[in-house]
Symmetry: C2
Amino acid sequence: MTYCVAMLLEAGLVCLADSRTNAGVDHVAIFRKMTVWERPGDRVLVLMTAGNLSLGQAVVNRLNEAVREEPPAGLLTVPSMADAALLAGEAVRAVDRQHRAALRAHHTGFNVSLILAGQIADEPPRVFQVYAAGNFIEATPETPYFQIGETKYGKPILDRVLHAETDLMQAAKLGLISMDSTLRSNISVGLPLDLLIYPRDSLKVGLHRQITEDDAYFTDIRGRWSDGLRNIFSSLPDPAWKV
Amino acid sequence: MTYCVAMLLEAGLVCLADSRTNAGVDHVAIFRKMTVWERPGDRVLVLMTAGNLSLGQAVVNRLNEAVREEPPAGLLTVPSMADAALLAGEAVRAVDRQHRAALRAHHTGFNVSLILAGQIADEPPRVFQVYAAGNFIEATPETPYFQIGETKYGKPILDRVLHAETDLMQAAKLGLISMDSTLRSNISVGLPLDLLIYPRDSLKVGLHRQITEDDAYFTDIRGRWSDGLRNIFSSLPDPAWKV
């Protein structure tokens, strides 16, 4: 599986993806789930994929075809993030048409989902979640994050802490804490992580960092978070019920 | 949906279940998911059900048929918890046979899972998880808890804190914290809660408490937990990466 989260903040965007895939326990591997297209001064787009790896890669390959034309087209020239989400949805549908019959013959569902985040020119930053049917929804200040993959372990802390006003570094920290809970409880999610921070209106990638087991910051906050949770838990009064 | 958790501790058993069911958002209702059979001095058995409510209730009804015979049989007379789990699995299979064809005709899967916890006479306390096929697994000191229903939101804190040596009141507190994360992130799980605490070798129910929104203890620790999480999160250093 996978865990990816994107946050839509007043200050910009934070995207985080793990990199573990598994096709059975004897086929666990590292694949990046995050693809970034950047045209400094004009746009930054970040795509994260979850579900069947072959389908996610096929969607990225289709989107890259237009990007690699001369002159570039597709995601590098669409005028808005909504148009970019439409392109991503069309790519999903094209992959579905291409593989549907064969997948059905193998009793395999069409299982892919995307998060597309970015900013194009004068538009504000936007975040879309694209479903396997190619339709999509957009994040808003009231619901400023989307998750795909193994979403549940890391959701409670997002629900408790995240607001559209959260600053970029706090949001990055929050994403890593949300990922930590997921890593601890689900072995299908694993390091390294891909973290991208995009400051609003910068129109270039602010930070794109691969976080491995050796990352001093991640190691530090994981330890502090774990100790802190245990400390709060210990500090809660036990029930006084008579048994 | 549902969230139920049972913990197998050196000191005894703690079982916790929510009580919300939903068959679509216009059909949300309160149903108890926990059934208790007690023969003081001889045995205590606790069954929790998740999945399709009609199937869970059908399993409980089947198990109650033998219990209500004169003299009582079934769960009230089997010599071991493993035999009780076999009976529960047979009840699941009987319900499957009874409803399989009709469910298939309505494109509804056979979706039910059980946790059966308890102690019979000289045996130690034991906890089983029974699957929809009627097969089952047993908890051990290395993996001292089982969950059914919406299990993921509340799993990380169990993985961080729970050990077989955790005492009963700490385990009850932990179950409530695990439930709190689930309640906050998934509206298909709701109050009131059914909490049962069973001290090892007592062969009677120690505490069976219904926890509502008015429960002072639960309200207190929910608030403290939420504040504590936010405080630890704030105390973690922000990343010093240059963006």
